[in-house]
Every structure is written in C-alpha cells, then in structure tokens.
Symmetry: C3
Subunit: 217 residues, 3 copies
C-alpha cells in the first residue's frame, strides 16, 4: 500500500515536471499562446505513455486516471502565466532535476508494464520503456518544429536505455528482487542524468558523427 502511494505521488510530481519544463522550453523559444503551450505541455507529460499503451493495445493509462490530465493541464497553464516564478535559479534547477527523475521513473514503470503483459520479451520492455520516457518530448518537439532530442548529443535517453536494460535483466534473472531492483535502476538512471545536468555532460565524442570524422561533409 505504502509503495503504491509513493509510486502514485512520484508519478504525479514527474508529470508536473514534464509539463513545466516543456512550457518553459517552448515559451523561451517562440511566440506562442496559452492554448498551444498547454497542449504541448500536456502532450509532453502524457504522450510517451499514450504511445506505449497504443502499441501494447491496452487502454491508455490516463483514460482511467484522469488526474494525470488535470495535473499536466494545470501545471502547463500555471507555468505559462507564472513564468517569473521559475526565473529564480534554484526553482528552475529543481524542476530540471525533477524532469530527469521523471524520465528515469517513467522508463522503469513503462518497462515493468510491458514485462507484466509479456509483450515482446525481452526487447519490447526496453524499447517501450525508453518510449515512455522520451516519447512525449519527441512529440512536443515535432509539433513545435524544433530539433528533437534524437538530433542533440544530450545525455538524456541513453541513461534511461541502460537503466531499463538493467531492470529487465533483473526481472529476468532475479525476479524476487523486483522492487529493490526498480528502485536501484531508477536511482542510478537519475544519478547519471543529474551528473549530466550538473557537469553539462554530453554523449562522448566517439559516439558522434562530428567527433569521429572531419567536418568536410
């Protein structure tokens, strides 16, 4: 019971963080109105899980738990009008870390859901875990005509990918450690992302086009 309360509370916080970072990013970039910003904030918050559920062919999670819709909508509108609040460095910073935590949490949650449905084991839980974490942000950037995460060397999705892979390995080999395994994978994924935010880490040069070849192409 207590576990579920924690899980629900953290998911809600992560949903709010996704909506806030989305609206802040879009708002700085472009002239946009409150309707457009709210749609983009909500899509960022619930879009990844929606695509996962459509591929799984199960009811989309928010159709039975509308609180995620209300939270994402309210957070988007409040952020649009209350931007000044986030001017304070530590508030903005807190939201950024919370967003990173959300990606870790949603990734592992997504992988667990796919695993429990025994859908396309063992690859699909990892793929759809990553989709849960970054899918909403991809949709937002596509709809806002911005470069998506895939085109930037940001260390955002790769920690989620490795965290989901580790978690699926635990579910496979040590199923009795599901809960501690989930916690450890979320914390490790988040720690990596937090380090990337703090020290502005990017993907290493050997993993990038620009890093391995001369720029003459």
């Amino acid at each position: 019971m207590e576990w579920e309360v924690w899980n629900g509370g953290l998911s809600m916080a992560a949903t709010v963080a996704f909506a806030i970072t989305a609206v802040l990013a879009i708002r700085d970039d472009r002239d946009i109105d409150v309707f457009g910003a709210t749609v983009l904030g909500l899509i960022t918050a619930i879009g990844g899980g929606t695509m996962r559920d459509i591929i799984l062919d199960v009811p989309v999670f928010w159709s039975r738990e509308l609180s995620y819709v209300w939270a994402g909508t309210a957070a988007s509108i409040l952020t649009f009008y209350g931007r000044r609040l986030f001017a304070a460095r530590f508030v903005f910073s807190a939201v950024l870390y919370l967003d990173g935590f959300g990606a870790a949490l949603f990734g592992i949650q997504g992988a667990a859901k796919v695993w429990d449905l025994e859908f396309g084991l063992p690859a699909a839980p990892v793929i759809l875990g990553v989709l849960t974490a970054i899918g909403g942000g991809l949709l937002r950037d596509v709809l806002a005509n911005r470069d998506t995460l895939l085109m930037r060397p940001e260390l955002y999705a790769v920690p989620v990918l490795l965290g989901c892979t580790a978690f699926v390995s635990i579910l496979n080999l040590l199923p009795q450690y599901r809960i501690p395994g989930a916690v450890i994978c979320i914390v490790a994924t988040f720690a990596w992302r937090a380090a990337a935010i703090h020290w502005k880490l990017a993907m290493p040069l050997f993993s990038r086009t620009g890093g391995t070849e001369p720029a003459d192409e």
Copy 2:
C-alpha cells in the same frame, strides 16, 4: 433518419473542405507533386478521426465507411489540378468558412462518440473532440515541415475547445437536450470561427508570449 442524412451529408462536405484547404495551403507554399498533395489532403481530412479512434481502441471510422476516403482523395486531386477554380475570391472564401464549420462539426461529433463509449469522462470527450477537429491539420503541417496551428495565434482550436466543453456539460447536466445542444454548440463554435475569419481575429494579447513580456528573450 432525417437527422442522420443531414449529419452524413454535412460530414462529407466538411471532409471535402478539409482536403481542399489543405491542398490549397500546401500548394501555395511549396513545390509538391500530386501524390504528396493528395496524401496530405487525405490525412488532413481523416487524420484527426483516425487518431481519436486509435486512442479509443475502436475500428477507425473510415474502414467501414470508405466514402470518406474516396471523397478526400477526389477532392485533393481535383483541387491540385483545378486550382484556378479557387482563385475566385468567393469560392475560396466559401471553402474557408466550410473548413471552419467542419472543425466545429468534427469536434462535437468526436466528443459525442467518446461520451457514448464512456471513455475517460469527463475530460477525454473534450480532449479527443479537439483532436478530431485539429489532429489532421497537425499531421499535415508536421509532414509538410510547416509550423503547426499550435505555434500560431490563430483563433481556430480554442472555439472548438470551448464548444466541446459546453457540449459535454450539456450531455452531463441536460442529457435530454442532446440533439439541440449539439446543434447549438456547432453553430456557436462555427460563428466564433467565422467571426475570426471575417475580422481576422487572433488570440488576445494576454494569452500570448509576445503580448505579455518584452521581446528581449
């Protein structure tokens, strides 16, 4: 019976209007061939309802009513080759208003479908109503690498949002007035959109980034 005939006829007219406005918009913008234009016209006409039905997990509407596919395809091809026809100001104008009417009609129809399936009440009928109305246009703009509706202060989606909200309130509180309620909401939504077309109304300044803050960001 008569109601259904009206509903079917108007839906078909709106489908055609969506395809025509899509092809006209794309054609003015870019060098495109008849295949690309027709795909974009058809997607604009049936894309919103398709996404709604996928999220609802019901068969996509056009799989059982192919007339929408034929109408959207034919309208797109004819518009591509018969562009001169729309050079006449009043023809173009009529199509623009018909497109606005289509958005109102599809929004309310979409909300009604979601309501009848008791899917995610009360938020989902409004969200998916708006998706039905604007989803095809979003897909078109994304595929054509244009700025989507969400990034423009056009008064297009907000009337639909409020119309769907009003309609869902009626279904909730006064279910016996479903049909007159639908008619009133469609007419009011359309009237607002028509006013926006006629007087070139945009979203008010207080609802926009550019309007509430200096442009120094």
Copy 3:
C-alpha cells in the same frame, strides 16, 4: 514452406536495407550520436508496419518476431561506425536498390495482410500497403526535422501505390493467382524504382506545382 523461407529472408534483407539507408542519409546530413542514429534507423525499418498494425488493431508484427528489431538495431549501429564500407560506390548502390526492393516488398506484404483481414476493402489494403512501405521513412524525416518524401518529387511512393493497386485488383479478380501476382507486382514495382534510381527519374512535370504554373506564387 520454401515460399515462407524466401519471404522471411527477403523481408529481413529489406529491413536491414531500410536501416542502413536511413543511417547513411541522417549521418551525412547532421551531427548525430549513435543512439539517435540507431533509433532513427530502427524506426525507419519497422515504423511503417507498426503504424499499419496499430490502424488494423492487430498486435504489432515485431512483438512476435523480435528478429526484425535485432536486425534493424544491429544494422544501424554497424552502419554508424562502419560508414567507410559504404563509401565504395557499388556497395552504396547495392543498398539503394535493396531499399527500393524493400519498399516494393513491404508494400505488397502490407496490402496482403490488410486484404486477409478483410479490413476496409478495397481501399484500405492499398492505403496501408503504401503506409507500410513509406511510413517508417516519413517518421524518420519528421523526427530528424528533414523534408519528408511527400515534399520531394522523387519517384518512390508512386510505384508502390500502383503496385499495390495492381495486386489488390488481382486478389479481387483472379484470387487463384495470388502468389504469382504478388511476385509480378513486387518485381514490376521494383523495376520502376530501379529505373528511377538509375536514370534519376522524378515525377513528371504535369504532376508538380512547379511544372504547371509560373513560379510567381
């Protein structure tokens, strides 16, 4: 039995070709890292069939046949790091033709799947056949913020469209010739695409905006 082995082997080769051409195209265009390139390669390889299956409301094909996922992922990573291999003109050329063959194969396979499910006959098998063939590439270009196929006068989708139409006509009128009909339609579609690659054929001028009207718009 032998037929199935051929079909499976060719599908796998086409999947690999789709991933390779995607990574080569993206890699030449932009600074990208191996994660982004692999996601785009995999999406190109399996995205079209995924969208088809979602619209059909059947389990996505790769959830039961993960070998497509592994093949697409491995081909993407190897292409990212082994780009030099494709510098040789005849290797690159072979992949390009294999990609064209893949589009023909996936189109006809997609149309056959839709036909067998008796979904939206007779239009849906053609529409979803084309979606199977080009949908992954559309997703890739949208996520990479590139112009999609629809905005280029390339002769890529139209041969697939006509090939699928011919195949559906055969299924309808001469169902006993299903297998030879499929082979002929795949070969004819591929031949047309191969001619387009070899002689750099584009869509004819009468089918293009730029071709039929002065450029003053």
